[in-house]
Symmetry: C2
Amino acid sequence: MHCVRGKIAILAYQLKITKKKPKMTENNRYCVILCGGCGSRLWPKSRIQMPKQFIDFLGTGQSLLQLTVARLKGIIPQENIFMLTQTEYAEIVKQQVPEISESQILLEPARRRTAPGNAWAAYHIKAINPDAKIMVAPCDNIILRVDEFRQSVVKAFEFIEQNDDTLLTFGVKPTHPETRYGYIQQGKEIDGEFATVKTFTEKPDLELAKVFIDSGEFYWNTGIFFWSADTIIKALLENASVEVSPKFAEGEGIYGTERETEFIKEIYEVSPSASIDYAVLDKADNVTVLRVEGIGWTDLGTWGALYDVSPKTREGNVVQRAKAMMVNSRNNVVSVKSDKLVIVSGLDDYIIADSDNALLIVPRSEEQKIRNYVREVKAVHGDKYL
Amino acid sequence: MHCVRGKIAILAYQLKITKKKPKMTENNRYCVILCGGCGSRLWPKSRIQMPKQFIDFLGTGQSLLQLTVARLKGIIPQENIFMLTQTEYAEIVKQQVPEISESQILLEPARRRTAPGNAWAAYHIKAINPDAKIMVAPCDNIILRVDEFRQSVVKAFEFIEQNDDTLLTFGVKPTHPETRYGYIQQGKEIDGEFATVKTFTEKPDLELAKVFIDSGEFYWNTGIFFWSADTIIKALLENASVEVSPKFAEGEGIYGTERETEFIKEIYEVSPSASIDYAVLDKADNVTVLRVEGIGWTDLGTWGALYDVSPKTREGNVVQRAKAMMVNSRNNVVSVKSDKLVIVSGLDDYIIADSDNALLIVPRSEEQKIRNYVREVKAVHGDKYL
């Protein structure tokens, strides 16, 4: 169901496509790092002014964003790495990734989830290099086995370089029935680790997650994608003319010029919010999954995820930075500012997270509600505590 | 069981006593406010650098010390009000009670509980006025009905002015079987609200506290005492020559001079720690109790006490200053810095207290353990978090 304007845009766009043989070179490899999220489920450590991706959550000395950039070193040319973020984070990004030039930072003028951002990035990069192959990388991933991950990234690029019309997803073989992730169900085997995609699913409940695991057909949806600029643009026009403005296609001659900022602002102003998963991948029929195993992948979206990946005391407590005295208390995650002393007694399975002006004490089982609490806080107090 | 040195001191002291008729005037009325405590059971709001007595715990705009001083206005001459505190609190006391001159602040050079301090204060004040009648006032009391309290104070002074050889305690008729307080058991009726004292008891358990209440003979020990300088000095020499150095008696001609500081320092250096209750009142046979009722007295010694006296939400939560979102949470006391946002879910009957570098989350039923936790913290980290 495309609107007429959408159809016209597709036709207009298709007329412009001139089939070229891809250059098959690493210089065509690009990455768009999505670093504009607000990380509200990790409040109050993750703040609207300094969301999780800019925080050294694991105590490694590097923020999640810096870790993400570091993982790409040597497999994607530095000048081909783009940051897609919100205008308000421009300075933080420049400061945390000084090796990236200002022209590599795409500043979204409003929060519209991932679909409009991916559209813009594709058009923008295509204007630079029509043969561009783009990796889309969220920056709240934790990846413990970086070498294995990098091998998979190269494999993914090689696949779309040889199968230009494919939207490639990056699925991780589940190690347990996790309810925090969406899942990708594979369809037919293609070749080695590649398969067609049958369905995308939302976060399942525990029972369903167990069924997924037992079936052997389901993979965690990492939110990492690979596609050529041309292919995602075509897919957007074909599948997402409601969710993503077809006006992006009218920007030829504008991308890369000083008029781009104003042009994008106009589009974003009237754009609905939509995720790229919902707007495109759910509907497209040219989606493939690279089935990856053993890279130690986690999405650091919630306190529970942080709990899972962190070292624990004998009593199962995760204590970040703080000096903690945990009395008769088990399986808690405690995250307070460096060097703060915490004394907890008689508490099991809680999240205790403290920032300068906010303190959160909720059961780990309620981690998904934190986003709602933050919404309520915003309704009452505005941005003061976000 | 007095040591020989103690006996000699008594004899020497008794030789010096010249029985005078008391002047029966308000100018002989003195008060010693005990404001040197460290309030560790109210950690981490009460800190070693700024203990509870200097904090506006009730949000009245006045610290507990300032409230204590204000209650005495008009019934004790301002120049007769002395502060007994630790050297480190000199500046805070001066700042909080600027109407008191520096000579009215007695700075203890070490923590030795209440017995040595009361001894020093008595000798010091006696050197100024041999007829001095002294009220000893802790400053962690909360008194809701100040007029009634003031009437009782005047009554107490009048009693010891007419019964100079009495150590008068101030007992409050219990309203419930409180386990946080020591109790005074009355003996024989003397006159109106006065009675002899049969026993002092430590904090009872709940069962015993109920027995106390049912008997009708027991009163809460407020820690407020009235005695003439002479009488307490005599009682110290007779009863407490082990706990309180008899050397205090040798200071005639030194109290009030510039040699006093050095003299006191020498005594404190070798002095044991003892409470005046244990050192004197437990043993003396001239102890009387003024039985007081309906003054709304509480000792703000613990978080539970603060909970009891504070206004509560419909769910029974006491929230101090913070903006709190209490979800499925009842009967908690939340004390954090002004304007901090707190979100708590699924927690009942807890103390949640937060300061800049320390956070405490313990059940209200464990309030007496907080002091031990603080002790452990000190053992590991020194004074950093105290």
